[in-house]
Amino acid sequence: MPEPILQIQDLNVRFKTPDGIVHAVKGATFDIAKGEVVGVVGESGSGKSQMFMAAVGLLSGNGEATGSVKFKGQELIGAPQKLLRTIRGSKASVIFQDPLTSLTPHMKVGQQIVEILTTHKNIGQADAERRALDMLELVRIPEAKRRMQQYPHELSGGMRQRVMIAMATACDPDLLIADEPTTALDVTVQAQVLEIMRDLTRELGTAIALISHDMGVIASMCDRVQVMRYGEFVEAGPVDDIFYAPRHDYTRMLLDAVPRLDQPDKPGHPVLPPIENWWERETLIDVQDVKVHFPIRMSGGLFGKTKPLKAVNGVSFELKKGETLGIVGESGCGKSTLARAVLQLVEPRQGAVVWLGKKDLMKTRGNELRKMRREFQIVFQDPLASLDPRMPIGKSIAEPLITQEPHLAASEVRDRVKDMMKRVGLDPAWINRYPHEFSGGQNQRVGIARAMIVRPQLVICDEAVSALDVSIQRQIVDLLMKLQAEFGMSMMFISHDLSVVRQISHRIMVLYLGRIVELADREEIYENPLHPYTRGLISAVPLPDPKLERSRTRIKLHGDLPSPLDSRAALTFLKSKVIDDPDAEQYVPQLVEAMPGHFVAEHDPV
């Protein structure tokens, strides 16, 4: 065994809170050796981050750590801050989850890297700047020199995280603690960031502690895995053992809950019934050429000028009764805006949304539209934030019903609410409890009950499971499928997570900068993706299967999503037709039916 970098012995972390003492980490013991990548998995609240915060002395004021953490033989628990400061950032550095809030907003990114160098290395400003530039180039930031002078908010999410990596590795640390480093990023960007981290360990021999809840990321990166629950390790071992021969029930449950892009229907979970005779079914909504263009104020000139941000730019599709349409795409592709346009919740919109072949919702206004809203409901991403904190959940659930059917007697409303609570897996006795008393998964059940109480024909789930832990995510997806079998409603399921979308959707639509690039049956689109963007997207998803991950070659999509304000961006995959002027009216790629039911946007041959 090579020399250990970090030795954690019986580490305990406790927090003093108004509700008493919380024992967040209970006697954790493990080592990380030189150059090793150790994954720490567990769901939110398992104490995985706090364990490492305690190790480097970054616990919040009410936290206390006991036990032993040795870094290269040196005891860190109880060590003076002065010693910890010489280790933090220099020999052991941290990459945090959210790169936007984790970088100082008013400081140029170059300076933030320079600062760590001048603090730990005995070098001057000029040398530090040169080194910072090298680091930015090492993490493959384009135009690194110009980026040095930019502020964090001027960079994209992926670039910010690369700045974080450059900063954390600037002093050649022996240990890199990566706390959910790619959780806030799109899959394609995640793939790029993970690759950079992998290369860095190989070149510099840095050991990595990778904290993550994503089994795919763990499988593709780690040598060893520690599984954590309620502050304790339930299982530990080489990555292949954990994935192919898990011994603990919790590990098995975690692996079972993980959605797999290559195995959509897992045994023991509801199976999506296929839609028979798609063409003969009644069409619930017919969306025709929907556009949402936001005017964006640009600087320049005395009064400034506006430029349209084409969030949704000509999307057409049909949704049949009882069908689920998955909508995937990276952040900024317009998937949420499209949902809101269909629901008539965003201005300004153009096009038509024809309801049951009769009424165009776009032309419906006022009271008539309000009455029709009972037929289409939405479930939002953040379950806690989308519930009124001052309203008992029973009242939140009842509100749409009371609005739509004001004649109902109070007792009738109560019965219907309790019935719906039972159906979504909530105890009807909780009717008077408040959202803060529940977990994220339970609150999302409340959100679903609120949407379902009026028995709508269309439910739109806007990233409805994205904020939840995998095991909870699985339960909510199962619940939605069960409800669909029961009530037969149609769904639009929006997510950036391709694996989840594949579990639940009959057909899948891939959006890129406000336009459909591919639309096909769920099997077809994963097995036979035709558009290069779809291929890149699918290839970027890490699979929770270490052997498969090691043998996989990825199709790479380079760089970040281009600015949607540049009209050339929409033709990234059809460069042959680009007019080289950012403001020009560009060619509109047509959606072609390549095979029956499989539509793909025109693109240059791959």
């Binding site: 910890l84 400061r85 550095s93 984790s102 603090t119 502020y151 900063m167 600087s299």
Partner: protein, 308 residues
């Protein structure tokens, strides 16, 4: 940025016009006029006076003449009550005094208040924090007309260190007491404001990153926390400075300072139409300009803010 400033200043023109018009007509609506006294003037004299000041014309015509004179000649008219003085002259006499007093008090308050606020935030929930905050609470609750005589009594009368009143042509000795009295409540407000925002900033993710980089506490506070922590202060300072420099009636009265605070009150009580109008225009302009400066400062401190 320049385009933004010009745009904002152009946008201020209708605002100012509405303020001027509203004040003008509301004052005319109030009963009584500048030349109504206990003893009625003989009718022909009253007629002459009214004609001299255009008060015999319809109100909208008077308004037209007033605005016209400002725009064409920069003339804010004669004071109705202070004979032989124009409004501009009165304001030019009083404004520098109020300006000096207000700016000195605000500078003092910003430095001491920020220092106390940051100190309390860094030692959150310790005796230092509690004592700073309780003193600040006291500072907010005690009005200046209590602190002013109290301090005057001790420092001026008993100890005889400082003059009890008078402007003394702006001598430092004369300014100390009024400046301190005026600054005290501001110190209290600012220290509470800064403490609150600093505590929030110190909990934020980027401070955790800065600490994870191995920076010293001083570096973390000075480079990373302070700028973000002082942002709310900037938005507060705009209107607060405008309030202070346009004269603080109580302090100016107690210390006998020839500022413009008293013009406001005297003007309103005496129906000195033009004087009130002049002070209102000065105050409104200051508010608009200072708020603009605050917004621009905000942008300088926080590059994420987009002016548009």
């Amino acid at each position: 940025m320049l385009g933004y400033i010009v745009r904002r200043l152009l946008g201020a023109i209708p605002t100012l016009f509405i303020i001027v018009a509203a004040t003008f007509f509301m004052m005319r609506l109030a009963p009584g006029g500048p030349f109504d006294g206990e003893r009625r003037l003989p009718p022909e004299i009253e007629r002459n006076i009214k004609a001299a000041y255009n008060l015999d014309k319809p109100v909208y015509e008077q308004f037209g003449i007033y605005v016209g004179n400002i725009l064409t000649k920069g003339d804010f008219g004669p004071s109705f009550k202070n004979k032989d003085f124009s409004v501009s002259e009165l304001i030019m006499l009083g404004a520098p005094v109020s300006l000096k007093l207000g700016l000195m008090a605000m500078t003092l308050a910003v430095f001491i208040g920020s220092f106390l606020g940051v100190t309390a935030a860094l030692r959150q929930n310790t005796p230092t924090d509690y004592s700073v905050m309780s003193i600040a609470m006291v500072g907010i609750t005690i009005p200046t007309f209590v602190t002013a005589p109290f301090l005057t009594l001790i420092l001026g009368v008993y100890l005889g260190w400082l003059p009890v009143a008078g402007y003394g042509d702006g001598a430092a000795r004369n300014m100390i007491l009024p400046v301190v009295v005026l600054a005290l409540p501001q110190i209290a407000i600012i220290s509470r404001l800064v403490r609150g925002s600093m505590i929030e900033v110190l909990r934020s993710n980027f401070i955790r990153t800065a600490r994870a980089k191995g920076l010293t506490d001083a570096q973390v506070v000075w480079r990373h926390a302070l700028r973000a922590g002082l942002l709310p202060l900037v938005s507060y300072l705009g209107p607060a400075i405008a309030g202070l420099v346009t004269g603080s009636l109580v302090v100016e009265q107690i210390f006998g300072l020839p500022g413009i605070g008293r013009y406001f009150v005297q003007g309103a009580l005496n129906r000195d139409y033009t004087l009130v109008m002049g002070v209102v225009i000065l105050y409104a302009t200051l508010i608009i300009v200072l708020n603009l400066i605050a917004d621009v400062m905000y942008r300088v401190l926080d590059p994420r803010v987009r002016l548009g």
